[in-house]
Amino acid sequence: MAIQTAASSIQETLMPPDGVVIKTENLWKTYDMGEAIQVHALSGVSFDIDRGEYVAIMGPSGSGKSTLMNLIGCLDTPTQGTYWLNGRLVSELSDDELAYIRNKEIGFVFQTFNLLSRASALHNVELPLIYSGMPAKDRLEKAQEALRKVDLGDRMHHKPNELSGGQRQRVAIARALVNNPSIILADEPTGNLDSATGEEIMGLFERLHLAGNTLLLVTHEHDIAAHAHRIIHVRDGRIERDERVE
């Protein structure tokens, strides 16, 4: 009991206040390459993101930004350090618990869209709802609503290969939105798009930001990062600079 009390008091002091969506404390990710060679992809990263913020994580390839994104996206767990997501300590959860968090709290937007090619746009958007066990009728309604939000109300039954790149990315964004996640995590969302379409997608992100969503953008391009209102520069597994852009 004494130990429990001690532990809980530590957690109480560490627990972030309500307005903070993401709080990381000294995150480390270390890969063992065998023969006692260790590679530190992240060496002690700490930052907070408040609700409603629009943040870009920027860095060259190899800087550890992908690793950081995987940790924040609950696809991976840190070797060391703590990570609070929406008031929950998620850095020590099991695989299936992480799956639950990904389902409820995180909306992914990937560079390569990552849509199921054999399924219609509507079914793709329904997927997160299927895994949260929502009955078919509610699911359909919510998925249609999400597609309308990204202006694809008339393309619901098209398959990804019948859609343009920009439309595919918008389907992916609808899929990320559909479960009302705490944070939308976009990994190089314009990397596979021409610049005009890229701008269009960035415009959509701006709209989502104004609607109150918390956005986290991972990119290596300056002009894409410039859309965000705060840029965290990462280099060699550490935060180099954390600047606000107005």
């Binding site: 627990m15 299927i130 929502m134």
Partner: protein
């Protein structure tokens, strides 16, 4: 304290919510549709994959159907001595060759006196009768220049009409009066009527049986044939007449009919004891006669069929295992092929259990469809076989066939599915297809 209980209760509610039936139902339904979609997308591959299961199911059901058909047939045509009837004969039927050779040396024919003795001393039977018959190529029946060979000529007691399988169609059976007076009358099977009296009333006509004149007093109802052998080619004469003219010393078959199956067993014991006592058989020695019932024939039949069935089970098991391994192989390929898809699903919140379920359901659905095709094929083959021979599909065979295929799909699907479930989401997402 507050935050720990907060975390604990969060994990608790998490576990509770995720194990709810409705969520599982939603994801299984999704898995079911994915399975059908995957089958539709790879028709030829699915067909080739399922060939083993199809063949196994078909073989199982066809063999079970033929055995079932033959069982019904045997019970109906060969082992049908009449209801609750046992037969005291010179030999025990359906024993091994060695036992038969031994019995041939020591068993004594059943005499008329012994029949009378059993009739007097056996208590409480429903009916008792005796027959003796010979089956010979030289047996002949003639009427107005038409001759029929090879019929079974039997001497019977009047009670045999109540015991045996024959029924009177017209006229009458052999009567007590015929029996007492060694009358020159006969009761004939339908083959003789068809041959001799196709347009004439048979009753009262005189036919020559092995050269002796007998008056037809009754005609039996048609029975049909067993394995192509007509069962209607027979002549029944009074036992006394038969003994006088044809075979005075031929052993009898004493037919005893009990009121029910329970009493039949008691009567068998009693008949055995009586006959042993009368023959002064020392108590250590075997019977010098045989007591046979429908069950005796069915036992022999079931022994033969048992070994055929065992061989079938072996063959089906081999097919099923091969079919299952093919399914496993294809599922492994399918997991590799769809690694990226698994990554996407996992990133969207699919748990291990959801992915496991998806692939297990896919392999089970696939195997079930194979089983279903096997059942249809078996029904078709069974119809054809029934046309030439005999085959009746028992419902149990269909149930066994389908559930066996489902079980094979389930079992051989588990390994590939668990590989899929254990994939790391980051690695899986990185894999390009």
């Amino acid at each position: 304290m507050a935050s720990l209980t907060h975390t604990a209760s969060f994990l608790h509610s998490l576990a509770k919510r995720r194990s709810k039936g409705s969520g599982l139902w939603v994801t299984s339904r999704e898995a079911f549709w994915i399975a059908l979609e995957a089958l539709r997308a790879h028709k030829l591959r699915s067909f080739l994959t399922l060939l083993g299961v199809v063949i196994a199911t078909t073989t199982l059901i066809v063999v079970m159907s033929i055995i079932n058909g033959m069982n019904l047939y045997i019970a109906d045509h060969i082992a049908n001595l009449g209801a609750n009837v046992f037969i005291v004969d010179k030999y025990q039927w359906a024993q091994g060759y060695e036992a038969w050779l031994k019995a041939r040396r020591r068993n004594k024919p059943i005499r008329v006196e012994e029949f009378d003795f059993l009739k007097e001393n056996l208590a409480g039977y429903k009916n008792i009768g005796a027959t003796t018959s010979m089956w010979s190529d030289e047996n002949s029946a003639r009427y107005q220049g038409h001759t029929l060979y090879n019929e079974e000529i039997s001497g019977v007691t009047p009670t045999m009409i109540d015991i045996g399988v024959q029924k009177v169609e017209s006229g009458r059976y052999i009567t007590e009066f015929d029996y007492q007076h060694e009358a020159m009358v006969c009761f004939v099977g339908h083959d003789l009527v068809d041959e001799f009296f196709s347009s004439v009333e048979p009753l009262g006509k005189e036919i020559l049986i092995n050269g002796l004149p007998f008056r037809v007093v009754g005609v039996a109802e048609k029975i049909g044939s067993t394995f192509g052998q007509s069962e209607d080619n027979f002549v029944h004469l009074p036992l006394t007449t038969y003994r006088k003219f044809f075979a005075p010393r031929l052993s009898l078959q004493v037919n005893v009919q009990a009121w029910d199956g329970q009493q039949m067993l008691a009567l068998e014991d009693e008949a055995r004891a009586l006959l042993r006592a009368r023959r002064h058989t020392p108590y250590r020695e075997d019977d010098t006669f045989g007591i046979n019932a429908s069950q005796t024939i069915m036992d022999l039949w079931n022994r033969i069929m048992g070994s055929i069935f065992a061989v079938t089970i072996g063959i089906v098991a081999v097919f099923m295992v091969v079919g299952g391994i093919v399914i496993m192989n294809i599922m492994l390929a399918s997991v590799t092929e769809r690694t990226h898809e698994i990554g996407i699903r996992k990133s969207l919140g699919a748990r291990r259990r959801d992915i496991l379920m998806q692939f297990v359901i896919e392999s089970s659905v696939m195997a079930c469809i194979g089983g279903g095709v096997g059942v249809l094929l078996a029904l078709l083959i069974s119809k054809v076989v029934d046309y030439f021979f005999t085959s009746t599909v028992p419902l149990s065979a269909v149930v066994v066939g389908l559930s066996l295929s489902a079980a094979v799909g389930l079992f051989f699907g588990i390994y590939p599915a668990s590989r899929a479930a254990k994939l790391d989401p980051i690695e899986a997402l990185r894999t390009e297809n």
